[in-house]
Chain length 472, copies 2
């Protein structure tokens, strides 16, 4: 009696895999909130134990100045290609809490969906690869390629420590290709390989008015309100054509050929599809571009939150002493987040009226990333998708940001296969985040095929090409 | 051995008076927050018991659809004038909590100040009259005038039930003059009688975008952000000269003569004084008016708070599904809050882009009020101030709003003496609200003198004049 095939093993153990994923989601690993540092620590330990239990070697929980990186590998012959599997075990804050139909960290299955914060971003998606590795190791006792796993706990706060970890250990961590499942497919029956991601720059702008909150009756009309100053500044940052009004902002934005834009129109979602995914009644943004283009090859500026004044029930007649806004730029080749940061600060300094003072804090920077879509690793991924989902993948650009992609290119010179298993309506970053369970199963199968395929495709490959992005 | 004089009684019992005021402040009577309804109920009962204990008659806790009204009186000969003493036992929310040096509902004395929410607005100020009544009743066994006390629990939410209570009981509640201590003096050595208050209109504007929060990477640049829409609308509501850009808004604003403005300049605070009181480095507002004028004879629009998106620590890459702003208009004669409400709603309907939907909720309306400053009751108050503080009062306009003032004029045809004991730096509505304890003592003395003086001044007065305000 031989061992079952890895695919059969994965099918037989699917109930247990789901239960384990639910255990994983139960850790409230909100990296942005310091009070959850202990939860991230426990989750990292759980993850390390889990990787050890499926047969991976050299499992380490690597401390950083923030949240730990979990490392594991399974290395055999140097002649075999090495695949670096990246994922992140941290999640976005679950706010607003009252909009969740079930508690964010008590994962439940309703119909074909698993609900919980991190279900798709990224615990569910990274778990597909972990389970694929288990299926190989428990049936064959080996993997078809060398593998390194790097799972971080700071992706949702911009990976502040990962780059240094990768750079300091670039020899020890050498690989030929990376695979990351943290992106979206177009629809349940249409997988997608992502070949571009936007960069990001997140900032907080704080405005200080009077030294104390003031009675809006006694002082209303005579003292500049920091909330109003904030609104006036925000309003001035877009013109009526949806363009961002920071001088120099568009100087390095790459212009794409008509051929590329035609390809994008063929592969990418239509305006209607994007509006359906967003559950929005109308589009908005920069004139002259489709919604898909506005979210991928064009930069964007989004207000993520404003804090100021009274937010409880009823009213409070107050002119607040201060107001804070959280801003998020999404950047495209060849913009550089550090340069945009400087342009923004200079512009704000010009805008601030002398009735108030201001402070700008940079909270996240990430370079945009482009992947050569003709790379053999992407062909291997396409073959794997066909086997796992019965359909060839579309090639997509993503509007999102995964900071590590650019770092892997810069540090190791390797491309990343962005093999997404999330769906457009999975509500990543929003209440009632979910993971489509058929994609969990098909994702594991796709990963099993991918590891096999990459072994054949990359064997002996020495020179890998990639496109450099970002300002010089 | 005769009884002591009421003034001596007040002096002898000043420590107990302070302890009682602290007991009063300990009730967290935040009328805007439904979870404090029980605290208001307990406080109303405490207040009623207290009024009974000092010798007032017909003490009643009158339930309303909101928070109760506490009534008490002491009526003797119908020939004597009747003074209606109004105050409110509810307070503003204490937010932001972390800026209080001591807990808002654990009153403490530091130096000459009593710190606590409601210390000056209005528990401390209304208590001066209660203690003046006690001083008379405990020494003389009678009052120099008839008195009715009406203390409400909904002033900070716009007195939604008081008008109906007064109108329904207008015969039973007849009076010749009202006195309210809920306003400010100019400085510790400069008392003030307020003869004008602004009206108010508070609104919430809610903007709905997509049906759910969206990932700002995946959708940033293609979906209109409700927070951005809100900022753009708010920014458009003032022009660069500080005027409010709602069509028709200024149509009924009364223009004052140069004589009146010269009087205001003589009596009122200078720009420098207002900036010192506000702890602000520069003024702001409508061109062509002093800061005192901007806060009294000119209307104002203030943003009291914005809620939208992520407000926790760190970042969250989200386009929120909705955003809410709390707005507060201060209105002047002859503006009408109901008409301004309509104009605002029509203007917002024009401004809202078709990418979002909006909702406007009216949360407070109050008419502006003007008091005839030549009325004999104000002369009586001036004499009382001279006796209590050693200085004649200034005549001031206030930028604040006390909804009952206009109602008393409309319903009873009586003027209100606005005899303020708060100081400009008492931080009414802000963290670390306080009451200047020398003003507590002098306020009680002033009230004792006032009751005596009003008995002489108004005895036999039949026709009282008042000025009507507000749109027809």
């Amino acid at each position: 009696m031989g061992h079952p095939h890895p695919l059969n093993y994965a099918f037989q153990h699917r109930s247990r895999f789901l239960a384990e994923l639910q255990d994983f989601i139960r850790f409230p690993t909100i990296s942005a909130q310091p009070e959850h540092a202990g939860d991230l620590k426990e989750c990292a330990k759980w993850l390390a134990d889990h990787l050890r239990s499926i047969g991976l070697k050299n499992v380490r929980v690597v401390p950083t100045s923030g949240h730990a990186i979990v490392y594991a590998d399974w290395l055999q012959e140097p002649a075999l290609p090495t695949v670096l599997i990246y994922g992140h075990y941290d999640v976005q804050p679950p706010d607003p809490m009252n909009e969740w139909q079930s508690p964010p960290f008590e994962p439940v299955v309703r119909g074909e969906q698993l609900y919980g914060r991190g279900a798709s971003d990224d615990k569910g998606q990274m778990f597909t690869h972990i389970k694929a590795l288990e299926a190989y190791l428990k049936t064959r006792g080996m993997l078809p390629v060398n593998v390194r796993c790097i799972f971080e706990g700071e992706e949702e706060i911009g990976s502040p420590n990962l780059t240094e970890f990768l750079k300091r250990n670039s020899d020890a961590l050498s690989a030929d290709v990376a695979v990351v499942s943290d992106t979206r497919m177009l629809a349940p029956d249409q997988p997608a390989l992502t070949y571009a991601m936007r960069g990001a720059l997140s900032l907080e702008l704080e405005i200080h008015g009077a030294a104390q909150d003031l009675h809006s009756g006694n002082f209303g009309g005579a003292i500049h309100n920091p909330l109003q100053v904030l609104c006036e500044i925000i309003a001035s940052l877009h013109d009526s054509a949806g363009r961002i009004m920071v001088p120099g902002f568009y100087d390095r934005v790459r212009r794409w050929s008509n051929e590329e834009r035609a390809l994008m129109a063929r592969w990418g979602p239509s305006d209607d599809q994007i509006l359906r995914d967003a559950k929005a009644k109308a589009g908005w943004g920069e004139r002259g571009y489709t919604l898909y283009e506005r979210t991928t090859i064009r930069p964007a500026l989004t207000i993520n939150g404003i804090t100021g004044g009274y937010q409880g029930s009823g009213g409070k007649a107050v002119i607040p002493a201060r107001a804070v806004i959280k801003l998020n730029f999404r950047l495209v080749p060849d913009q550089d987040p550090f340069e945009i940061d400087q342009l923004f600060r200079e512009h704000i300094a010009q805008l601030i009226p002398n009735t108030v003072t201001s402070e700008v804090r940079t909270t996240l920077t990430a370079q945009p990333a482009l992947i050569d879509r003709t790379h053999p690793a992407l062909r291997a991924a396409a073959i794997a998708y066909r086997a796992g989902f019965g359909k060839a993948p579309a090639f997509l650009r993503s509007g999102g940001t995964i900071p590590v992609i650019n770092t892997l290119q810069e540090t190791f010179g390797i491309p990343t296969v962005l093999m997404g298993f999330a769906l457009p309506d999975d509500r990543m970053h929003a209440p009632n985040e979910k993971f489509h369970l058929p994609n969990f199963t098909r994702g594991i199968a796709t990963s099993i095929h991918f590891l096999n395929e990459i072994a054949r495709t990359l064997e002996g490959t020495k020179t890998l090409t990639f496109e450099r992005v970002g300002a010089a």
